[in-house]
């Protein structure tokens, strides 16, 4: 879906690079593209589609809960909706959306031509798309997963949920886990090796830090949930006893495995988004971020601590009070790195010259919601208070403040910020402001009352509630707020649609932002940089005005002396810490293999779901053959051996 380069002003070597890097046209190109920008945009669009689907499910649930004892949804319908709402939002929207941002921006921000493993990048998208469809395959026949996104056993064991509902969930998560882990590995290697010379670790944008930390966490956390889901599926369909009480299994084993994944996962969902704010907010404060190193270190610290707090989801399961206290203390400590982030953003606004553009509004709103969500988290960290708060609507309020506040607001702000770069057109500011206020007011009207209904004892995941519980009015307010928020999202979609068609041209750097991606054209050429830039500071485009150092980065066309690397698809590989170039990387071109591998995996997983030997055999065989083709090394023609430029 790349915007073809009709631009006549491309420099001569640019035209050569264009020939090398441009994706083939037609269906083959569409399926075989490995261009990180195309994949990034596809991630953004697919994730946004799932955000809308999840949002619609939420709206139907809110109508059912608007007043006590409504009969719009049957209990099983409601259970399927709230399970799919949670699963869609947590797995099919949150991380894919951030992967979309990172896939698109990393090479441009790091000064590289592509991710470390372009085909792996395509594979992670196709697998994500297939897993998304797989999770919704039983929705039309009314047997969508109905055990909640947390799927506690024994409620989801075969004895209490015999349909295929939870098989779709368990296999779907394992399927999606493959996409996540593959994507994370790609991000980590890209960070370590695919950067422009001079882009040392202390000059990386904070979104890169965020996504890198999230990826490392995913490598460790996602296997836990994949293992748990595989065990659940074996228990259900092959009579093993991992969680089956009669056979000596332990229901709590599921909760431990799930939350060991669960908590690092929710931090993986927010750290890249905090990175977006740390990179984009300073642009509208007309000054660099205050305390860059503090924010970078707090990002990593948050994730490391994130692995040590998972039992705060299980304070009421009767574990010994001594161990609960340790996890409670850890959950308190984890608020400190977040506090560092908040103070840095506020300091940046305080000491900067805030420009009231739409992205700025979203980021300011983000800080406020971050704090409210943070303190409600602080309240649930206290094990004694959590014995009252857990599984009540207070926690629903907390998680929505944290997930929407820290993920959706920065994402919408980020799209407003990077839309010009991605499409070459500006989004409408007035409509943007309307979008922000509608979303902000709708959000607070929807989720703030849930703190109160939670404190009034309304339990979670209830398809209705009795009138005498006294929470009817607040729930009605929440429902109205939810619809206002949905209106806001609609306005955002309108803005995007209108801007795509008739937004004013954006130019290379409409916001006068400092980062490397603004040094390319909008939308950037498919090869990103005609010559590989050399980076000299954290803010390449602001170096003169900041006057921090006298060395200057060499960017874009001005880098005539830079490396062109136009013998085939090439980019520069650097040493991990100081980013000294030490190798020229040969990048694979367009390839159908990622799509085919994902297709093979889909056949395999549908075979597992239907337990049909043929499908499993066919899928497995296809996988082996494709992997064989994938991994056979391509012999480079002798002439293409390149001497290292100084």
């Amino acid at each position: 879906m790349t915007v073809s380069q009709a631009d006549a002003t491309v420099s001569p070597e640019g035209r050569k690079l264009l020939g090398i890097w441009e994706t083939a046209p037609g269906i083959f190109g569409w399926l075989a593209t490995v261009d990180h920008k195309t994949i990034g945009i596809r991630y953004l669009c697919t994730a946004f589609f799932f955000l809308i689907v999840g949002g619609l499910e939420a709206l139907v649930m809110r109508v059912q809960l608007a007043q006590p004892e409504l009969k719009l949804l049957s209990p099983d319908a409601y259970n399927q909706l709230f399970s799919m709402h949670g699963t869609t939002m947590m797995f099919l929207y949150a991380l894919p959306m951030l992967s979309g941002f990172s896939n698109y921006l990393w090479p441009l921000m790091l000064g590289s031509r592509d991710m470390a493993f372009p085909r792996l990048n395509a594979l992670s998208y196709w697998t994500f798309l297939a897993a998304g469809i797989f999770l919704y395959v039983s929705f039309p026949i009314g047997q969508a997963p109905n055990g909640g996104w947390f799927a506690y056993v024994p409620n989801t064991s075969l004895q209490y949920d015999p349909g295929i509902n939870m098989d779709v969930f368990a296999l779907g998560l394992v399927f999606l886990g493959i996409s996540t882990v593959v994507g994370s590995a790609n991000f980590i290697v890209t960070l370590l090796r695919c950067r422009a010379p001079g882009m040392s670790v202390n000059r990386l944008p904070i979104i890169v830090w965020g996504t890198f930390t999230a990826s490392c966490a995913n490598l460790l956390a996602v296997p836990a949930v994949s293992l748990a889901c595989a065990m659940l599926w074996l228990d259900r369909r092959f009579g093993t006893h991992f969680f089956d009480v009669a056979g000596g299994g332990q229901p709590l084993l599921w909760q431990h495995l799930f939350w060991i994944f669960g908590h690092p996962w929710v931090y993986a969902l927010v750290l890249p988004a905090m990175g977006i704010v740390s990179d984009a907010l300073p642009v509208f404060c007309r000054r660099p971020l205050v305390g860059y190193t503090l924010v970078a270190i707090s990002t990593v610290a948050t994730m490391i601590l994130g692995f040590g707090v998972w039992v705060h989801h299980m304070f009421a399961t009767g574990l010994p009070v001594m161990s609960l206290s340790f996890f409670s203390a850890a959950s308190f400590v984890i608020a400190i790195p977040s506090a560092v982030g908040v103070f840095c953003w506020i300091a940046t606004i305080w000491t900067g010259k805030p420009q009231f553009t739409t992205p700025f509004l979203f980021f300011a709103g983000f800080v406020m919601l971050f704090v409210i969500g943070g303190v409600s988290g602080f309240m649930t960290a206290s094990v004694a208070l959590d014995w009252q708060l857990t599984d009540s609507y207070f926690v629903v309020a907390h998680l929505h403040y944290v997930l929407l506040g820290i993920n959706v607001f920065p994402v919408v702000g980020g799209i407003h910020f990077w839309f010009p770069k991605m499409t070459g057109r500006m989004m409408d500011e007035r409509l943007g402001r309307w979008t922000f206020w509608t979303m902000f007011i709708g959000f607070n009207a929807a989720f703030f009352p849930m703190h109160v209904t939670g404190l009034m004892g309304m339990p979670r995941r209830v398809y209705t509630y009795p009138a005498e519980m006294g929470v009817g009015g607040l729930n009605l307010l929440s429902t109205i707020g939810a619809f206002v928020f949905a209106l806001g999202v609609l306005l955002f979609l309108l803005n995007i649609g209108r801007s795509l068609r008739s937004g004013p041209p954006a130019g290379d750097n409409p916001w006068d932002a400092p980062a490397l991606e603004w040094s390319t054209s909008s939308p950037p050429p498919v090869y990103n940089f005609a010559t590989i830039p050399q980076v000299a500071s954290r803010h390449p485009l602001w170096e003169e005005r900041l006057g921090e150092t006298d060395r200057r980065s060499i960017l874009g066309d001005r880098a005539s002396t830079g490396m062109v690397l136009d013998r085939g698809k090439e980019t520069i590989g650097v040493t991990p810490l100081d980013a000294e170039p030490n190798v020229v990387l040969k990048m694979p071109g367009d390839s159908l293999l990622p799509f085919l591998l994902a297709a093979g995996m889909t056949v395999l997983f549908f075979g597992l779901l239907a337990r049909s030997g043929w499908a499993i055999g066919a899928g497995g065989l296809a996988e082996i053959v494709i992997l064989f083709l994938w991994l056979t090394p391509r012999q480079f023609a002798e002439s293409e051996e390149v001497a290292l430029h100084e």
């Binding site: 399961t317 009767g318 009070v321 206290s325 560092v340 010259k353 704090v371 009252q388």
Partner: protein, 330 residues
Amino acid sequence: MRRLLALFGLCLLPGGCARAPLSYLDATSPIGGAIASLGWGLTGISVGVCIIVGLLLVVAIVRRRAAADTAIGPVNDRLALRWIGAGVGVSTVVLLGAAIWTLVTVHSIGEPPRNAPLTIDVVGQEWWWSVKYRAADPAREFETADQLVIPVNVPVKIELTSRDVIHSFWVPKLGGKMDMIPSRTNVTWLEADKIGDYRGQCSEFCGLQHANMAFNVRVLSQADFDVWWTRQLQPAAGSPDTDAGLNTFMVRCAACHTIRGTPAGGILGPDLSHFGSRESIAADLMPNTPENLANWIDNTQTIKPGVKMPELHMLASEVSDVTSYLENLK
């Protein structure tokens, strides 16, 4: 922004939520009270932090609005970093304070007192509560359902387990929640400081009727409690041949329900001994009146879809017989 925070604070004043049976920030019982004070404390800190940071943010945004220039210039953040350090320091101190306060509270209410004079086994199962009163002498042990009657100012030890999926035992005004996990016995405890009725609710998603799985806790004086206990031990009078209601009950309901003193011994459904003396029916969904009971027996699946009790399509005469029989099982 600030308007919203005010709403947050206002609504939590005791007046705002007194009539809500499940709200717990106005609890006064030994456990509920301890948690409530901790709750108010942490809420206060939270509201305070929100207001401070909100003010900082708003001031930060509006203080330089006038300056139209968007020029980039060199910056010096030494002062800002010192302010950030101070802010983080204060936050850390507040966090540690809260942590210590929590641990102290946990220590005081975590373990049930050694010599709790009364032990009750509560067993959760798909969508109702089996309540067994334990005693040293087995003959004084009996079972009832969906209702806990406890004496005032007496610590009651409660042993929790489940017969099917994970449920969670929670009486907000009397104390924190504790999960009920099959093949595992969790122990929690309650103590009430005021006589009256309290409402409990299952708070772990347990399937179709999780929403309507509540129970009633009735706190009596010690004397009334002992009277209640001895009456619960009395077997039901009458035999199937003399009492039409019991005869219909024996044929229609005895396979799932138990009434001590009659040959009805089913344990699939709640124990209905002394049903007439209970305050509510259908896991505390409706008050215990003959009309509600008849309506419940006739339209079980429409009131609580998915619940295990089937609709028996009984004749009107049978329904009224059974209803009157159950209602006068005082």
